[in-house]
């Protein structure tokens, strides 16, 4: 019996366990998934929590629901990955020998890496919304907040769901308007990028939306430290932005076990080929989703598009054939812009988000790079799709490779 071992049962790991179980014979291959957190959060839902649009119970389900029959789900922390010996050791002392390893350990925030960020104001007037704890603490804070300077700061890229901070800004505008206190809240969006976005067409469009919504933009700001006493964030160039409430998107790093096992780059992201998804360290180790050092978005849609490529390449690898499937960096996402509207963007390693339409049978087409109500509904519908289709490795009526169909180039 051969062993396929998957580390992590988040979006990428769950999809892969479903897809691989369908195409590997149960007589020849056993599949094991190791995961430390037995609750599966619908992470796009974190954005909705601070505003009270969702509560925790709306976005969490037991992990076991998404792992198919015939796959062993092991609840444990990983101690070490020894790729030379094809062995993964768990914190509980057991070890697992594999024939093929899929690393899907994701990424996490690391507020500790910015001096002062996790200081005395942490979860008092400094919050994150990338964890359930942070999002819930912020929801509680917003309920009674009297207003002032609301600063949204991205420490540096890469971050998970790179449009979420913008959506947060748009939702803040909607939320405080609805509360009748928008005039008391001064919203400032502080980013290390040179605009709302770097990809030119999307940046222009989103930048003008910030302006329309009276949200200040501070660009090229790379945070160096947080001054807790004077409630300011400071960049390395000496610029300062004062805050009353700071919503931070801290630095992101890979799982600790990656660096500890010597598999990662300086931030703990596994070094792997951005097209074949095979790790550089060992031919029988593959990487999917946020855990990789790919220059693509860290987002569920990317993991979803990568999954079919990875299935194809793992089967080729098993059959001693060259890895011919290549990932093009395809990503797409709905961007909530508030007041019942949203934008959809679709792009890859080489093509920036373009206007036009995104075809989808039954519910689509969705307008690209344009605010519509249908895009907002698409985002809401997506939660159902995530739980019922995406995680279970079922087919969605969209292509893995980015398609130019419907897009307008000039």
């Amino acid at each position: 019996m051969k062993k396929l071992l998957i580390l992590g049962a988040g979006t990428a790991g769950s999809i892969m366990s479903n897809k691989m179980r369908k195409c590997l014979s149960k007589n020849e291959w056993s599949i094991t998934v190791v995961e430390r957190e037995m609750k599966h959060y619908y992470q796009p839902g974190f954005l909705f929590i601070p505003f009270g649009y969702y509560r925790k119970k709306d976005i969490v389900k037991p992990e076991s629901k998404f792992i198919p029959k015939g796959v062993d789900l092991v609840n444990a922390e990983i101690e070490n990955i020894d790729s030379a010996q094809n062995r993964v050791t768990l914190k509980n002392g057991t070890s697992i020998i594999y024939d093929i390893l899929i690393i899907a350990t994701g990424t996490r925030i690391s507020p500790e890496d910015t001096p002062g960020l996790k200081g005395e104001l942490w979860q008092k007037s400094i919050f994150d919304f990338y964890t359930i704890e942070g999002a819930e603490a912020l929801a509680k804070y917003f309920k009674t907040w009297q207003g002032g300077n609301l600063v949204i700061n991205i420490a540096d890229n890469p971050i998970k769901c790179p449009v979420a901070p913008l959506e947060f800004a748009f939702y803040s505008d909607e939320f405080f308007s609805a509360k009748g206190m928008r005039d008391k809240v001064n919203i400032t969006y502080v980013t290390p990028l040179s605009g709302a976005f770097t990809k030119p067409k999307a940046s222009k469009m989103l930048g003008s939306l910030l302006e329309q919504k009276n949200i200040n933009l501070v660009s090229d700001f790379f945070i160096g430290e947080v001054d807790n006493t004077n409630k300011k964030i400071l960049d390395f160039g000496g610029r300062e932005v004062p805050f009353d409430c700071l919503v931070t998107i801290p630095l992101h790093v890979g799982d600790t076990v990656i660096s500890k096992s010597g598999l990662g780059d300086e931030f703990g992201f596994v070094k792997a080929d951005k097209q074949t998804l095979q790790s550089v360290i060992s031919k029988n180790v593959f990487v999917i989703g946020d855990a990789g050092n790919y220059p693509s978005s860290k987002a569920g849609s990317v993991a979803h598009f990568q999954a079919d490529i990875l299935v194809h390449n793992i089967l080729s690898f098993i059959n001693d054939k060259p890895l011919t499937a290549t990932f093009d960096g395809h990503s797409n996402c709905y961007i909530e812009t508030g007041h019942g509207k949203g934008i959809l963007i679709d792009f890859n390693y080489t093509t920036e988000p373009l206007p036009g339409v995104y075809p989808m049978p039954l519910v689509g087409p969705f307008a690209l790079l344009k605010e519509t109500r249908l895009n907002h509904l698409g985002k809401l519908l997506f939660k159902w799709i995530y739980w019922n289709i995406l995680l279970k490795g079922r087919r969605l009526p969209v292509t893995d490779y980015m398609s130019m169909t419907g897009k307008i180039q000039n």
């Binding site: 890469p158 990809k199 300086e266 978005s297 792009f347 988000p353």
Partner: protein, 103 residues
Amino acid sequence: MAQKTYAGITVDVNEEGYFTNPAQWTKEIAVEIAKEEGLVLTGQHFAIMDFLRNKFIGGEALSIRSINHSGVLDVKTFYQLFPGAPLKKATKIAGIPKPVSCI
């Protein structure tokens, strides 16, 4: 596709002046672009630009925080060498595309 001439060599650039073909870059060209940006290059500038070029050619994403791991200098010094928006300036002078965020 736009072109520009630096130090007697014609190179391909995009509308913002960033190289589209990093292989066309030379140190002499870098000195010329730096002048446009009001900078005089030192050994430290070249050391960090080498780091950025190698990372780019290796297919890795560039970020300001990776500077702390360059073994060459820290972010604070990086800001002093390329004031304002250091990564934007450094990549332009180093003849590599402007880093795109991984949106």
